[in-house]
Subunit: 314 residues, 3 copies
Amino acid sequence: AQSNVVLYGEADAGIGQRYTMDDTGFISNYSGTSRWGVRGSEDLGNGLKANFNLESGTIDLGSGSVGGNGSFNRQAWVGVSGGFGSVMMGRTTTAQNRIMGTFDLNDTADGSSALKYVGLAANGSFGGSRQNSQFQYATPKMGGFEARVSYVFKDDRGGSPNKNFLQVAGRYSGGGLTVGAAIQSKLSSAPDNRTGYALGAKYDFKSFVISGLYTQRETKAGGKGFGLGAAVPFGNFTVGLQAARLTDSANKAYEDATTFELFANYKLSKRTRVYAAYGSLNDEAELLNGSTVNGVRVRSAEDKTFGIGIVHKF
Amino acid sequence: AQSNVVLYGEADAGIGQRYTMDDTGFISNYSGTSRWGVRGSEDLGNGLKANFNLESGTIDLGSGSVGGNGSFNRQAWVGVSGGFGSVMMGRTTTAQNRIMGTFDLNDTADGSSALKYVGLAANGSFGGSRQNSQFQYATPKMGGFEARVSYVFKDDRGGSPNKNFLQVAGRYSGGGLTVGAAIQSKLSSAPDNRTGYALGAKYDFKSFVISGLYTQRETKAGGKGFGLGAAVPFGNFTVGLQAARLTDSANKAYEDATTFELFANYKLSKRTRVYAAYGSLNDEAELLNGSTVNGVRVRSAEDKTFGIGIVHKF
Amino acid sequence: AQSNVVLYGEADAGIGQRYTMDDTGFISNYSGTSRWGVRGSEDLGNGLKANFNLESGTIDLGSGSVGGNGSFNRQAWVGVSGGFGSVMMGRTTTAQNRIMGTFDLNDTADGSSALKYVGLAANGSFGGSRQNSQFQYATPKMGGFEARVSYVFKDDRGGSPNKNFLQVAGRYSGGGLTVGAAIQSKLSSAPDNRTGYALGAKYDFKSFVISGLYTQRETKAGGKGFGLGAAVPFGNFTVGLQAARLTDSANKAYEDATTFELFANYKLSKRTRVYAAYGSLNDEAELLNGSTVNGVRVRSAEDKTFGIGIVHKF
């Protein structure tokens, strides 16, 4: 059958000041992720489909540069789906990413996400948001429940001390409630490594949404912590507040790193929105996100950030 | 609303000898610019549109290599347009490029353009034809008049001694006449820098077109000079002659650099044309375009160039 | 006229062990070639068409990385076609590739091809499967016969001792029989170089197909040799066996390098297939494909390979 091939993407630009900037200027990908991709699906009959996705980014609209030198470093997989669920083979987002991302109420906005700046990004704190050489299985949705398993062979991870990669994540949604959990097997036999897990819950009261996420990172230095958020919709407007804290870390200098994020989004259409966001870091969070000078990590340039801009999906 | 996404591009290849080649061989992008891109527009209602453009090139058809390692280094922007005009945010062609390019009657053909080889390219002599991190505003067309302003924050240009970038350009077309002007603010506080400007005029007598452009570059080494051209259409054929001279430069060795360009284009369709072009450089222009050997600029390989080929837009 | 622009590609991933792998793991491009491209054709009237093709790959679905750093290193050409045949200008597959590839019954599967692992790939043993800066002419099909000539200027090949590149290939198909031949002019005046040629024949008995290819490489170190294969279709299934031997080489250590390939393909649709393949190398073939340690070539990791996976064309 004819493949249904779609060329798609996203573009984000605006004005603001990132934590890493000394002054106000052009920003890109502060809220969304500029990228382009091709995806498609072919009906093979008997309820079976062949699927693929190639996606390249992040595109910095400031310079046009593309992450990974223009490789398909966001998505590069082929697979099949049917009544049994779906299988993807290749580089793609992890089970955690696809299941737990929903617990950041501002979709892990790169410039301001509270969870991200304490190292506990909802969409991928366990060894990153993507993995190479994955075999990923997703169950079909069953009465509001869905789960994913992703696996990478040890030898595809560079061999010892790295281990086979196994990540399992599941989510249930029903009656306004969403709960989810993800578990990450030990990634390496190095002493800092351990089993990681994340637990999230979200409730939609219609007039507002609240969300909470607790994460134990897969490394002791990565630590443990939580995020809390609330968002209020007014027609096409949404405003929200999120906070996150690293409660515990093998690196004591980062303990109690705390971040805030205030955000507003206005939908011009289903595909296009205007955003504004503000974020702040306490001293420990500044250090955690700081740069390294002569081998010593120092605070980043700024403890506050703001951005306004536009995100257009195509 | 659904985005109207278009995949487009151009491909140019042929046979000839560039100024930089020792012998006849394969040429690409002698007259056109091989590239590919994605652009689109979404109707947001109330006369408002969201627009974007990602464009990658120049593609050398000789090897398939892509300028900027496959980044979207030609266009990478998002913006909105409406009755007020349009705003673009990102990497894109400058106001000068979009307004003044029309005064080169052979569309700044890379292999032969007379203006380009004295450093006064109609489509971008002020700090290049593109800028990163631009905010660019274009007025709507008002009775034949249109104008553009482009702005880049100083900090997005690497900070001092660089300055905020401001370029303004406007053009009027009516009754066969086109006149245009562009002005470039001082780009840096370094002593060689100054305000740049360009003035162009073109008249279409139907049986032929004449065009003239005077430019003061934004650096004293870049200098000042002019170009003159005439083109004659015969049905799908156009033949033309252009000349350019650098009348004045802080680098006296380049002064009076003079170039000629003879060109012919034959339209096979709206999208496809066959081209032939011939160009020549005087001694000063050869030096201006020469390469550097042991720190001393020497004449380029050849003082003449020619090319024949095909350009196909898709 | 409107260009007919098509976005197309292929994606291949699975599980197996390449000759170069120490253990079982993720494989990509074992049987097909992951890639993406844009191609199009414009009707210019009078039977004339403008054509182009840009194609990028090989994409490794394991990491998303793209060969040639995302350049269009597979196809980058523009040309015209009509009753006279077609002309392509740019980087593209050689005449040998386009004419002789058919004599590998498993389409030169990268992971297992018997011919490829003795250095005699049906789709491009003469200086590689692609060339930069080609002018390639293809005759129209005339009663089952077609031929191609490809030419590259000496100066576009880096000049002396390299020579002008000339490759001619032709093929006849009729009544189940396909015969083909390709000839490669001397690529360099260096002493190891000579005229290369290849001769192939294939017969389709309906219940099975047999194929044979004899090749003299364009270098004496590349040597001479042959491949033989048979394939049997069962509905959507095809199983086949191929063998190849390097009978003669200036490098005596590689002489009698011999390879086997057993393959099975199952078509899920016209665009999607599942594959399984197994290959083996004798000692000389292991050395020929080995890696270099301290300047001495040593046997590759494994003398056997296998892979199972899926190839989807879009």
